[in-house]
């Protein structure tokens, strides 16, 4: 074969043909758009100085957690923040006016004629006085609530406080040394007593550090003990989410092998059993760590297994791990007749996996009926991103952040005509340089009410209808 017929050369020559200039109109269009588009402020460990040396990790030791424990008795007791006539204690700082007052500018009607003005049915019951502190997850344990997060009130200093609820309100106390803000997630332990916490770097391609994948197990009285997770190939790992079904706990994480991010998962079949690594097929890539998606709710449990969210090469998808039969095929969240461009890279990313038949992709709620996914409604007019979602009796309650990361908010959506209510929870933007984003990151139903956590603890009705004016 002559050089000119060398297939490689011909392929390269063919690919060399074609447009090589982006037309000027495209630059103008981009410029015009970015002039009107605010950048996403970044919250997360990757925002800090890029000094991820082994030495740093050796010194800093473990990635640590701030833990907020709320005992139900205290939480609900007379005089407590959830009690009808609670009076704030010095460190319990209910946010009154800003969160409880409907916001006039948030009252723009949306698709449904039954849409009502903004309603702040969800109220903040606690916020750190010295803020900003951020709670990234919350779970119900046998005797109350446990939330996890971090504080950055002392820049460049370890976190001293882990917040426990006490007679005087929420109080941050140290459980673990911290030298770096971390993504944290929490689940009730397999026996329902106590909690299992994740603390890890959500998504940093950190240098190999076999000590990173770990969980912390314990409760309020006994404290927490660290448990090492088997580390695949000795690669550094970050933990993303945790879910529980019966005695089984499931942890979703990421590993970095040769700089490549891959999903990983661990299971513990009971509080007495060791953690074991389970293979995750590579047909589902983890959600990319753009923007705030490090906080995305990406793992949940159903009756017989666990569900994780990610992306196939083309679209967001979920994948199910059945406890008896293992992994199923990716279930692509896609419908040819619906929205193709739901924001974010590609066709969007799952930011809140509500259950195996309801997900939020950026700012769009998708539901599965039968074998078909379809768009239930776009919440983008209210929430820039929906980070957390909860299926309640008469619809969904979704928490997230408004456009420009301005404030945390929830929308309560009815299945009946897609009427929704919007509540802007907090008007204050995070201070410059802060790691805290004023957003709702996690929600849980507890005691017939919805608890939402983020820059504060919010409490609201667990029925969409009760969000009506």
């Amino acid at each position: 074969m002559t050089a000119s017929r060398d297939p490689e050369r011909l392929i390269r020559a063919f690919l060399d043909e074609g447009p090589i200039e982006l037309p000027e109109r495209a630059y103008h269009a981009v410029r015009s758009t970015i002039d009107q588009t605010r950048q996403r402020a970044v919250v997360g460990p990757w925002r800090g100085p890029r000094m991820f040396s082994r030495a740093r990790y050796a010194v800093s030791g473990i990635a640590t957690l701030a833990v907020l424990l709320v005992s139900v008795g205290l939480f609900m007791r007379p005089g407590g923040p959830l009690a009808p006539d609670s009076s704030p204690s010095p460190t319990s700082t209910p946010l009154a006016a800003p969160s409880a007052t409907p916001s006039a500018d948030a009252a723009t009607p949306t698709a449904s004629p039954t849409t009502s003005p903004a309603v702040a049915a969800m109220q903040a019951v606690w916020q750190d006085d010295d803020g900003p502190c951020t709670m990234s997850d919350v779970a119900v344990v046998d005797d109350g609530l446990v939330a996890v997060g971090w504080c950055d009130r002392r820049p460049n200093k370890p976190l001293y406080g882990v917040a426990w609820y006490s007679e005087t309100g929420f109080e941050w106390r140290r459980v673990f040394q911290i030298e770096w803000q971390v993504l944290a997630a929490v689940s009730p332990d397999g026996d329902g007593e106590g909690a299992v916490l994740l603390g890890g770097f959500a998504d940093l391609p950190v240098p190999q550090n076999p000590e990173l994948p770990r969980v912390f197990r314990g409760d309020q009285s006994a404290g927490f003990e660290e448990e090492q997770l088997p580390n695949p190939q000795g690669a550094a790992s970050g933990l993303i989410g945790i879910a529980r079904i019966d005695q089984n706990l499931f942890v979703l994480g990421a590993t970095y092998v040769d700089g490549e991010r891959r999903p990983a998962a661990w299971i513990s079949s009971s509080p007495q059993d060791d953690w074991r690594l389970i293979d995750v097929p590579t047909d589902l890539a983890l959600t990319e760590p753009f923007g705030y998606s490090g906080y995305a709710q990406l793992v949940t449990a159903d009756e017989t297994g666990f569900v994780i969210a990610g992306n196939t090469p083309l679209v967001p998808a979920i994948k199910r791990y059945d406890l008896s039969s293992g992994w199923g095929a990716p279930d692509e969240i896609f419908h040819p007749g619906d929205c193709w461009d739901c924001g974010g890279p590609g066709n969007g990313q799952v930011t809140a996996l509500i259950d195996s038949a309801a997900v939020i992709v950026d700012d769009v709620l998708w539901m599965k009926r039968g074998d078909e996914w379809s768009i239930e409604g776009a919440i983008g007019e209210r929430l820039f991103y929906g980070y957390a979602g909860l299926r309640v009796e008469d619809g969904f309650i979704v928490g997230g952040v408004t456009e420009g990361a301005e404030s945390p908010a929830v929308v309560a959506t009815s299945r009946d005509g897609w009427a929704w209510q919007f509540a802007r929870l907090h008007p204050d933007a995070a201070p410059p340089g802060s790691y805290a984003e004023p957003a709702v990151y996690a929600m849980v139903e507890f005691g017939g009410r919805v608890i939402a956590v983020g820059d504060a603890v919010y409490v609201g009705p667990a029925k969409v209808s009760e969000y009506s004016p």
Partner: protein, 185 residues
């Protein structure tokens, strides 16, 4: 220079981002076109990718990795654009144009172009992306896997399949005349 612009753009400077976009826009267009085989779709994909990049720039941890980071966004936008338009797409042949286009002289004949165009269009978008990043951008398989966020093995298999398909199309083209000649009249 690019790093400084990325840094400024991360701090919300649209002028810096505009300058950055102009530094990388042509390259993005070239890549997008070669993945999508359609100039209009490619232009839209690049536009969307740049806007996504602006919005998400704060998430870029290493300013020196701006272009690889952008290429991953761009590739995803190419996939999205293709799927978005699939419903209304009409199979139009994209012929080499003169203005703003590269040309390779006489290495390729008309049949080569035709066969390669057909073969490329038969590839999946994911395979095309790997082909483009390997043969056009000149990345190694390791780099492609990292840039596209796919396992190395996947990159290898996509390139293997695509290269075989492209070679086969050229070989078929080369064989076709002789077969024709041998056919009885």
């Amino acid at each position: 220079m690019q790093r400084a612009l990325v840094d400024q753009a991360k701090r919300g400077d649209p002028e810096a981002f505009d300058a950055l976009a102009r530094m990388v826009g042509d390259r993005c267009m070239a890549i997008a076109y070669r993945i999508l085989r359609d100039a209009d779709l490619a232009e839209d994909a690049v536009q969307n990718a740049l806007i996504v990049a602006w919005r998400q720039l704060g998430a870029l941890r290493d300013e020196d990795r701006f272009e690889p980071w952008l290429h991953r966004i761009l590739t995803n936008e190419c996939y999205a654009e293709a799927r978005r338009r699939r419903r209304i797409s009409v199979q139009l042949r994209a012929l080499p144009t003169s203005g703003g286009a590269a040309s390779t002289g006489d290495i390729l004949n008309v049949n080569d172009r035709d066969q390669l165009e057909r073969a490329l269009r038969r590839l999946t978008l994911e395979q095309r992306a790997v082909v483009v990043f390997h043969h056009y951008v000149g990345l190694s398989l390791d780099e492609i896997a990292s840039r596209l966020g796919i396992p190395l093995g996947t990159a290898k298999s996509r390139l293997h399949y695509a290269s075989n398909a492209l070679r086969a199309s050229l070989e078929a083209d080369a064989r076709a005349p002789s077969v024709s000649r041998e056919r009885p009249a």
